[in-house]
Symmetry: C2
Subunit: 508 residues, 2 copies
């Protein structure tokens, strides 16, 4: 597997550093890496019982390999506490035995953010799956970390509300993981990412203290916002055990359109025109090149081209309307007619019913699978300033082709967020797997350098985890790294929380 060796080395380097620091710890007893773990395991089994504790390799196996199946780790035990107090007790025990904690939700990280290594406990939050509260008056829910996203969607719908964040892994991804990775998805354009849904958290800090901030207040200016600090921290500062999340009103109707156009520039002009005309009704705006559509039509059974013409670029648009508003189809159709007159749009179709709407979304959602069947690609999850997307695309594709002997690019994603899934396919005629194995790192560096040059991010929504740690360290500016390390050292001085992830450690 391409990135396997690098990631493991990085993780080990981070891990070793963590324990060096444990051993040099000035406060409390000096802990040794050689402290035997049998008594720890016995204490954990006493604490959690057979349901919450196992060292059986068969039980651990499914959770030791990351979602993309690139990295397989190991752990002393899988611990599954049922309460925040049990999580606190586990963290305190781990600290006393100088053992690392790797928190895990649905294990759907795209960057191997939850793979344990060596002297570590794999701390599953999956038993903490209560929706503690669901309030239509407050438009707030209190969810435990192990609640699965699609379960929260269903619970909110039952009280005529919705939780406005969704993504492909919604059937497995958990609230704790979504917070710890500051997840994105297809509704960020209107509602923001996971950070923006967060009204408070309950968490166990690395010293075992329970931080309880679940009142669900909309406004609270009492010092640094710990919920915002733990959002996107990938479990490196503590274990999120529950969260207060905002809910929004359910919508009454939606309109879904597939639009053909000439260029990403026209797509951006169309987006801004629609926002001016329709305001926040615009919820989804996904850019799809013809090359991606053709791959889906080739590899995914039962799909049809939505337009009779074959435009170079497509956009999938979703708008919604509340109960008191006019039919969203009429408003979107009127806006698209104006866009057609202005020469922004060359062709368009509106879904006439929910089945057609779903069919259009299915095209978008199957791009990654179609690519996989084509032979795979070097993947990137980048963001650049929105106004630079067109230039970035126009310049980087040919540069890659020139530099890597005809490699091609399929780039699609959330245009309104500046977030592209930017995938580089092997040149024609090579053995795909072989080429990908040998070119993964150099292609990554080539793309990330161009992203950095225009002020972009090498991780828009997937996070850093193990997979992107070296590239993050290579490209980040020193002030950012110094601040990250200072915060990590302040809240987790022994480096026990998810070592080897997110925070590139100092070289000396």
């Amino acid at each position: 597997m391409y990135a396997h060796r690098f990631a493991l080395e990085t993780a080990m380097a981070g891990y070793g550093f963590g324990f060096e620091r444990v051993m040099n710890c000035a406060i409390g007893e000096v802990m040794s890496i050689t402290k035997p773990i049998a008594p720890l395991l016995a204490e954990l089994e006493d604490l959690l019982g057979p349901v919450g504790f196992t060292t059986d390799p068969h039980d651990l196996a499914p959770w030791l390999t990351d979602w993309r199946e690139r990295i397989t780790g190991s752990a002393l035990a899988l611990v599954s506490p049922a309460t925040v107090e049990q999580v606190s007790a586990v963290v305190k025990l781990a600290a006393a035995y100088a053992v690392a904690i790797v928190p895990q939700g649905g294990n759907t990280s795209m960057v191997a953010g939850a793979v344990p290594h060596g002297r570590a406990l794999l701390l599953s939050l999956r038993r903490m799956r209560a929706i503690r509260r669901l309030s239509p008056e407050d438009n707030v829910t209190i969810c435990e970390a192990g609640v699965i996203l699609s379960d929260l969607h269903d619970a909110a719908a039952a009280i005529d509300r919705r939780f406005p964040l969704s993504l492909g892994a919604k059937g497995s991804a958990t609230i704790g993981g979504l917070i710890s990775t500051n997840a994105g998805g297809t509704q960020v354009l209107r509602f923001g990412n996971m950070r923006a849904q967060l009204l408070g958290i309950e968490a166990v800090l690395p010293d075992g203290q329970i931080f309880s901030g679940l009142a669900g207040l909309r406004k609270d200016n009492r010092g640094y916002d710990l919920a915002q600090l733990l959002a996107g921290a990938e479990g490196t500062l503590g274990v999120v055990t529950a969260a207060a999340l905002r809910l929004v009103p359910a919508f009454a109707a939606r309109s879904v359109a597939w639009v053909g156009l000439d260029s990403p520039e026209h797509a951006l002009s169309l987006l801004r025109m629609l926002e001016q005309q329709l305001g926040d009704a615009v919820e989804g705006f996904e850019l799809v090149p013809d090359s991606a559509l053709q791959l889906v039509l080739k590899h995914i059974p039962g799909q049809r081209a939505p337009l009779a013409s074959q435009p170079a670029w497509n956009v999938l648009i979703e708008t919604t309307a509340p109960a008191g508003a006019p039919d969203p189809n009429e408003r979107l159709e009127a806006a698209l007619a104006t866009a057609f007159e202005q020469g922004l749009v060359s062709d368009a179709t509106l879904a006439a019913n929910e089945a057609q709407a779903t069919a259009l979304w299915t095209l978008r959602e199957n791009i990654s699978e179609a690519e996989r069947q084509q032979g795979g690609s070097v993947k990137h999850d980048i963001s650049v300033p929105i106004s630079q997307i067109a230039t970035f695309m126009a310049e980087t594709g040919p540069a890659l082709a020139g530099h890597f002997g005809g490699a091609s690019v399929i780039s699609f994603g959330h245009l309104g967020d500046g977030n592209l899934h930017y995938n580089v396919l092997p040149p024609e005629g090579v053995v795909a797997k072989q080429w990908l194995d040998s070119h993964w790192d150099v292609v990554n560096r080539f793309v990330h350098d161009r992203v950095s040059a225009c002020g972009g991010s090498l991780s828009a929504e997937h996070g850093i985890g193990e997979m992107k740690l070296a590239e993050f360290a290579r490209t980040a500016d020193p002030a950012r790294l110094a601040a990250l390390r200072a915060i990590k050292a302040a809240l987790d001085p022994t480096g026990m929380m998810n070592p080897g992830k997110l925070v590139p450690l100092a070289l000396n």
Copy 2:
């Protein structure tokens, strides 16, 4: 002035602690509080020139007293750098001389968040007032810290966009201060507070390093979010010098209504019903009790009661509509008609034109001034879970009256945010100023205890500053305080950044 002595003592305690830590600093030369400052002042004058440096008491005086005129401080000099490089140089010089830095924008803090004391430089950001970038393609602006809020409003309007945060002090408050206090205002219901507008920052950290994060990315999951950490940090972790902020489309039309109803419960039901019917069109929803309206009619010249009836409670509602949407007046009127049928609303009037809309908002905006003319009040800026507002009001008012011999309450504010400006007026017949002086602290504690009991916050949008530091320390939970102190110590180990504000220091 009521809170003068306490606050000064607190500030001094914090200040002393900071320097004790400077003197014990393990890294770098040991700095002494007795190091003479004349060479520092000479270096600063060289660096900044006469426009950027002054020790003239007349120049300093306007900026040494807080907005509410409760606390007057002192400073070694007023320094006004014009560039981020100059800010960095000032911070490095201050660190070398063991002198504190107190950043200041428009000096409109409600909690004395920017008053310097003793061996400190008052660092004004007011010369850094460039709008570096204003992009309709990106819907992003890059503003320097000293840009005044109303100037940003005007600049955004000129490109058919708006910056969706506004408050009473918009003619003085600066972007840097609004970020550092995570300001709220009247549009939080729809757009969130200052934190939600923030796409990135440029800041000088306490070691003088410049952190540059102004690409304005919508999605960026590279580690802990420093912009979110500095938002609301009140200058205690560094100096914000510029920010990338989101812009939203301008609206085409607005509708403003004044509605009479029986109770806060009905007001909340009305809000949820409007959200269901009108979605995000609901931008403002301000609760005003009849007692507040009567004070405004009594003290502010030229005001008229908006309704013929005199309901116990009122709500000021604002909705907006983009260009492609139907007339917002019609939609709001239809929704209010339904509310009337449901018995939620007893009376209502819609502004027929902009002049009438402004007149309705003038009533709301003059409540504080009317109260001041009535003799003043003990003020609180609290938030409680929205569903508990009605109970909180129903119980706390009578309890206060009973405990404090007939004191009365005027409570108004942002119902949809759970944020109340909760003001306690002296009993009839007492000398107002005398009563306020002697009761301020005990009334604060009484109200804050009840806020804490229902999980609320003693600072919804004003922050902590000096004024609320003791109450924050008294009511905060230990895990929250420990985490705040750890972060403060990590990023500002010598305690030089705005000492005595926001972070209650440990007692030992």
